[in-house]
């Protein structure tokens, strides 16, 4: 069976959920071979094996942390040369897309980004994408070279499928030309203890109707009762009420959770572009004419400052 390279997204060996989803999708088109770059391969390998990696190729070098993206492209290319895979899968993060893009140029292959599903086809893997603010669904394939495909988080439920997960060291030579962009300093983002926005199963977002940074705790409390991530509309972010890293929409993050709750968000096209593929959509808004209500599975026309805190209490009491 053909091998499929899966680029591992991790923090010091703690494998992030989108990678487990990639392994699950990779099994549909071949045998997953995971590529783990940087520290923590010992921690990551058993998790990768548990989710179907027949092999784990690892390499660690200071250059991965000292320079932007390019050294990792060198390493992934080394893995590509070692394996000759049927496809290369990466997570649709900013970095995943950039690594995939540069690898595609080097190996003369096409790239598809932001796939939401993946299946085997007669002429290679077929990727489903959601385009034009999720108003269209397309099916595409790479027609030249080895398919390089980046996949959005929440595109598949990670499934356990124990495999050998044999760890092998990957010999990597990092080119001088790959040391062009120096990472002078790195400030880790402070953890909020909440799930990562793009990976969360539930997202609760606040918009213009939240009416001030001081009111966002109302949204956060509901999110915490549900174990959800917190999002914000562009209006709320531009007003300085919530950090840009939490912005959901065309110029922010695109999310596709099981449940999306929009509070005080009108539903401008730019916001819809970032959340329209959510499985279940709920909105709470004073304005019964708000376009967000065209999308919802359940909508409450009402003041979010009445409905959201009461809902938080309901959730807490039902969860006991």
């Amino acid at each position: 069976m053909a091998e499929v390279l899966v680029y591992v997204d991790h923090v010091d060996g703690a494998v992030r959920k989108p990678t487990l989803e990639l392994l699950t999708l990779a099994r549909r088109i071949g045998e997953p071979v995971a590529v783990h770059l940087g520290a923590g391969a010992d921690t990551a390998a058993p998790v990768l094996a548990e989710h179907g990696a027949v092999k784990v190729l690892t390499a660690d070098a200071p250059e991965f942390a000292e320079y932007l993206v390019a050294p990792k492209v060198d390493a992934l290319q080394a893995a590509y040369d070692a394996v000759s895979p049927a496809a290369v899968l990466l997570p649709s993060s900013a970095e995943g897309k950039e690594i995939g893009a540069r690898l595609a140029v080097r190996i003369g292959s096409g790239i598809i980004t932001d796939a939401v599903d993946l299946e085997a086809g007669d002429e290679g893997p077929v990727a489903t994408q959601s385009v034009f603010a999720a108003s269209f669904t397309t099916k595409s394939r790479v027609s030249k070279g080895t398919p390089v495909i980046t996949v959005k988080p929440n595109s598949a439920a990670p499934e356990a499928a124990p495999a050998a997960g044999t760890v092998e060291q990957l010999a990597v030579t990092i080119a001088e030309s790959s040391k062009g962009t120096k990472i002078v300093s790195r400030t880790p983002r402070e953890s909020t203890g909440r799930p990562e926005l793009t990976e969360a199963a539930i997202v609760v977002s606040g918009g213009r109707g939240v009416n001030g940074a001081e009111n966002f705790p109302v949204i956060e409390a509901l999110a915490d009762s549900l174990g959800a991530a917190v999002g914000a509309s562009r209006a709320a972010v531009d007003a300085g009420w919530y950090p840009h890293t939490n912005q959901v929409g065309q110029t922010g993050k695109s999310v596709s959770p099981q449940l999306y709750i929009a509070a005080g968000i009108s539903g401008a096209i730019q916001h819809r572009a970032g959340m329209q593929t959510s499985k279940t959509i709920v909105a709470i808004n004073k304005d019964s004419e708000a376009p967000i209500f065209d999308l919802v599975d359940y909508g409450v026309v009402g003041d979010l400052f009445d409905v959201v805190p009461a809902l938080t209490e309901e959730v807490k009491s039902r969860k006991g």
Binding site: G100, R102, R318
Partner: protein, 262 residues
Amino acid sequence: MSLRIVVCVKYVPDATGDRHFAEDLTVDRDDVDGLLSELDEYAVEQALQIKEASDDDAEITVLTVGPEDANDALRKALSMGADKAVHVEDDDLHGTDALGTSLVLAKAIEKTGYDLVVCGMASTDGTMGVLPALLAERLGVPQVTQLSEVSVADGKVTGRRDGDTASEQLEAALPAVVSVTDQSGEARYPSFKGIMAAKKKPVESLDLDDLDIDADEVGLEGAWTKVEDAAERPARTAGTIVTDEGEGAKQLAEFLAGQKFI
């Protein structure tokens, strides 16, 4: 001329319009108005700020690949303050994908001459966000991408990249490819004077022959990817909408419990 800046821009279908696919499964550009991709306005703005802050003479060339109408995107950038424009236009480019576009842009950038290439973080139609990395790879220069802050001094570009898990301070020697996010700073509106001045600014037109690119390397036939099917997403079935008269939260909780979210 000591600092040559090339800004790559894209003419995109208006996202508030009714976007469609044409029969050949390329983006239908005939039935919807186009405009300069909003995210590219940020790139033009940062290029202008870099020029304004520069001790050297700096010149901004705005570059696009696209059909005749794409000229509108160039005019907008020129009216904001870019100095000149290059328009790569060729019938054989219809249906070119990201890999192909990066090839055309890279050749045009090399032909124009550059110290710094500035791009938006992504287009607002394709939204792939890979073009700056593709360009850096093709040009063989550093990529300094996804910046919320950028500055150029002493032959170096520095900037801040805000990622999911960390914020990084980056630095690279010129020449380099930069991309900026929508957090880099609001784009200016063209002034009346700027709009009038733009009419007189030079727009150079190039085709594939000028760039030594074979037609079979680009276009729909030459694309590295193929769209096999495009289907309009079925409209969502109308959901339940209730008006809160004191029971809204309870009703919503019932719904969420029914869906097994709580």
